[in-house]
């Protein structure tokens, strides 16, 4: 029971709490903000688990870029939050049922696998080593991902074209 253990559990609580809050908020902006907290917690978790570069990336990209993008879109599209019917029963019930089954199976699988009882020891992957590893061994993947980003960009531009904006101005 070291300090790291304690930190891990603290972070776990934070992440789960923040996520739970995020998914139950009616106001979308609040939900996104809570999720940002969750991702910050995840970043700290990554740092604890020996991936400082990934922690930085999590903050910059996930919490910083993606969630901000979310906020932009949410605020652009003025969604009337009070209209939403929260957690309709016909969707809630089966999900809850199968969620329970999933949890049970999950616990069972994890508990019965002998390899899962190994205790994680502290280790660090230093950024320069990690960077070298990725760009040496998985350089092709990096290239493909960049291509993917390019395609996404083009797609978004096509989808979010300007022609339709006038229609919505009329509708409102």
């Amino acid at each position: 029971m070291t300090l790291y253990t304690f930190i891990f559990y603290l972070l776990a609580v934070v992440i789960v709490a923040a996520t739970a809050l995020a998914i139950t908020r009616r106001n979308l902006v609040h939900a996104v903000i809570y999720l940002v907290f969750s991702f910050l917690g995840t970043a700290m978790l990554f740092y604890l688990l020996g991936a400082p570069l990934l922690a930085a990336f999590e903050v910059i990209i996930y919490a910083g870029a993606i969630m901000v993008l979310f906020l932009f879109i949410v605020m652009t599209i003025k969604v009337d939050a009070s209209e939403e019917k929260m957690f309709p029963f016909s969707q809630l019930a089966p999900t809850a049922l199968f969620g329970l089954i999933y949890i049970t199976i999950g616990i069972f699988v994890v508990v019965s696998a002998p390899g899962s009882y190994a205790v994680l020891e502290t280790a660090v992957a230093r950024p320069e080593e990690f960077g070298q590893y990725v760009l040496q061994r998985h350089w092709l993947t990096v290239e493909i991902v960049s291509l993917l980003l390019l395609i996404a960009l083009i797609g978004v531009l096509c989808v979010g074209g300007q022609k339709q904006r006038a229609e919505i101005e009329d509708k409102r």
Binding site: S90, Q91, P94, T95, F98, I101, Y102, I105, F108, V109
Partner: protein, 634 residues
């Protein structure tokens, strides 16, 4: 069969005796329905051949110590082996002879009685069917074959009782007879199955041998004996299944004479004789049989006292005498039952045939009507009736006297004097009810008692001289047999002594006074009947009729029919049928309907998944993922 059947004369005789009537039945039904005289000729010819073969077999094997058995393979499949064949031992040969003689005489009689009837050929065909079934029953070597022919006998009885099927009461009576005997047969089948389970086969000789005591426990023996006795109760119309026999009088009188007096109902008693060692192994079953025989005897006698229909009186008498036979057999005295069966067959058939002559001439069954219309003028039937009634009552020196004495002597050997007392009371009642119709018919009063009897013979009343003599000489022959059979007691006893290894000694009765007491009782009964009916100026009201309660009880057959109707309505109709109908509607139909309904509803539930909402599709992805993990990890 080891021996080619045409070479062995015994086997040939047995085959001819039993199969000729069947051939006659088939030929008549298929080919000669429209030729009445030809059908009758075929049937009588077959019966004649059977008669000759049966009598020759009887004479040829008079001294054979061992039973002769022929058996051929009928069904064989791995462990199961069902033989069929013939078992010729003294009691079966005797029965064969009885059936053949009486059958032949009655078929000749029917030429006159049934002349002009529309179903003349059908009648002869069915009578041949019956003769075949009865004879094969008599010589069956296994209980299986016996049961088959037992059922066939019941079937031909059904056909013959409902012969005039246009009459509703006749077809009702036929159904009643068949169903009531069927109830007994179910019990018998269970008993047979019990024996089969423990013995491995149904060979009668094996059932009769002492080895069966080693294979079956005493309780099991008693149980199977009682169950087989159930079949005897049904077939021989003993209490409680006795009400079908009076109703069976709806059939033509020769049918009543052949089936329901001498041969078919005697098949039950014959079965008892067949399995006598088996029954003797279980004293409880014997006691039960004794009780049932006694009850039947007394009950039927009381019913006969108040009846007005001549055939019904003789029907009750048959029930009573069969009970008497069973009493003798159950008391342990084998020969007494056999002997009484033989003598009873003769005089009861004679009584029915005489009654048939009266009915044929005067077209009424009611004894007061018959008397009024002048039945005393028909000399031959009247005289034969008097002889037969004397034998029935047990007056010496007629055959009935000898056979009754034997039974009484057997009953006297029992520890409990109750049975003998009941039997003596029965003797008195028998004489009374037997002589009552005779006196009523002999000495009619012209001021009739006003009861317009309905003629339920449905029969033509005209005949001519030729048919009269055709019907008369069988009567004469049977009367002669009645006179003579009594004196054949000793030879028959020796003949049947070789039947079973442990044949009992004739009871040297300590009661030497028994024959005298019995005769006195019989004469007393006849005298009482004379006092009440025969004497000029007699009141013509029986002593029972003076007591209205008893009269009501007896004439309603002790309310047995009412009890059966009530049971049918309550237990069968409202109980069992209701349960099964409910089961059919609610359970079977309900479950099928429920399945289809559930399928439709299930479809309706699942249909909502296809409403186009994407979140349901997402949910389906999740569900499938969980189920797949379930599948992979378990």
């Amino acid at each position: 069969m080891a021996v080619l059947w045409t070479k062995d004369i015994t086997l040939l005789a047995a085959v001819l005796a039993t199969l000729m009537p069947f051939a006659a039945f088939v030929l008549i039904m298929v080919f000669t329905r429209s030729h009445q005289k030809l059908s009758a000729a075929l049937s009588i010819f077959a019966a004649g051949v059977s008669l000759i073969c049966a009598l020759s077999l009887l004479v040829a094997h008079w001294n054979t110590p061992e039973p002769i058995q022929y058996s051929g393979r009928w069904l064989a499949s791995s462990d199961i082996y069902i033989p069929f064949g013939y078992l010729l031992d003294p009691v079966s040969l005797l029965m064969l002879a009885v059936v053949a003689v009486i059958g032949f005489l009655i078929l000749v009689y029917s030429l006159g009685y049934m002349a002009g009837d529309a179903g003349f050929s059908r009648y002869y065909a069915l009578m041949s069917l019956f003769l075949w079934a009865m004879m094969c029953l008599a010589v069956s070597p296994t209980m299986f074959q016996l049961y088959i022919f037992w059922e066939l006998v019941g079937l031909s009885s059904y056909f013959l009782i409902g012969f005039w099927y246009e009459k509703f009461s006749a077809s009702q009576a036929g159904k009643k007879a068949f169903i009531m005997t069927r109830v007994g047969d179910v019990a018998m089948l269970i008993g047979i199955l019990l024996v089969l389970l423990h013995l491995g086969n149904l060979n009668i000789l094996e059932i009769d041998s002492p080895s069966i005591a080693a294979r079956m426990s005493p309780n099991l023996l008693t149980l199977s004996a009682l169950l087989i006795f159930g079949g005897i109760i049904g077939k021989s119309a003993q209490f409680p299944l006795l009400t079908w026999l009076p109703d069976a009088m709806q059939g033509p009188t020769p049918v009543s004479a052949l089936l329901h007096s001498s041969t078919m109902v005697a098949a039950g008693v014959y079965l008892f004789e067949r399995l006598f060692p088996f029954f003797a192994l279980s004293p409880h079953a014997m006691t039960v049989g004794l009780a049932i025989g006694t009850i039947s005897m007394l009950l039927a006698s009381t019913m006969a006292i108040v009846s007005r229909d001549i055939k019904e009186i003789w029907a009750y008498s048959t029930i009573s005498q069969l009970g008497f036979m069973l009493m003798g057999l159950d008391a342990g005295s084998f020969f007494s039952g056999v002997f009484h069966l033989t003598t009873h067959a003769a005089f009861k058939a004679l009584l029915f045939l005489c009654a048939g002559v009266f009915i044929h001439k005067y077209a009424t069954n009611d004894i007061f009507e018959l008397g009024r219309k002048g039945s005393r003028r028909l000399k031959v039937p009247m005289a034969c009736s008097i002889i037969a009634v004397g034998a029935l009552a047990g007056l010496p020196p007629l055959s009935g006297f000898f056979s009754k004495e034997l039974i009484l002597a057997g009953l006297a050997g029992l520890a409990n004097p109750l049975w003998l007392t009941a039997a003596l009371l029965g003797v008195f009642l028998t004489a009374y009810y037997a002589f009552r119709p005779i006196f009523i018919m002999l000495f009619p009063q012209n001021s009739a008692t006003g009861f317009d009897a309905s003629s339920n013979s449905g029969h033509e009343a005209g005949h001519d001289r030729a048919t009269y003599w055709l019907m008369a000489w069988p009567l004469v022959i049977l009367a002669g047999l009645t006179l003579v059979l009594g004196f054949l007691q000793d030879p028959l006893q020796i003949f049947l002594a070789g039947q079973y290894a442990f044949s009992e000694m004739p009871v040297e009765s300590h009661y030497a006074w028994l024959p005298y007491v019995a005769s006195m009782l019989a004469i007393g009964g006849a005298g009482l009947a004379w006092m009440e009916f025969g004497r000029p100026g007699a009141g013509r009201v029986g002593f029972v009729e003076r007591i209205p309660v008893l009269f009501q009880l007896f004439s309603e057959r002790w309310y047995l029919d009412h009890l059966y109707r009530y049971l049918l309505k309550r237990v069968v109709d409202k109980g069992l049928s209701h349960i099964f109908a409910q089961n059919d509607n609610k359970v079977i139909d309900g479950s099928i309907d429920g399945i289809s309904h559930g399928t439709v509803e299930g479809g309706r539930i699942i249909a909502f998944l296809n409403t186009g909402m994407i979140q349901y599709r997402l949910m389906m992805i999740f569900v499938v993922m969980v189920l797949l993990s379930l599948y992979f990890f378990f």
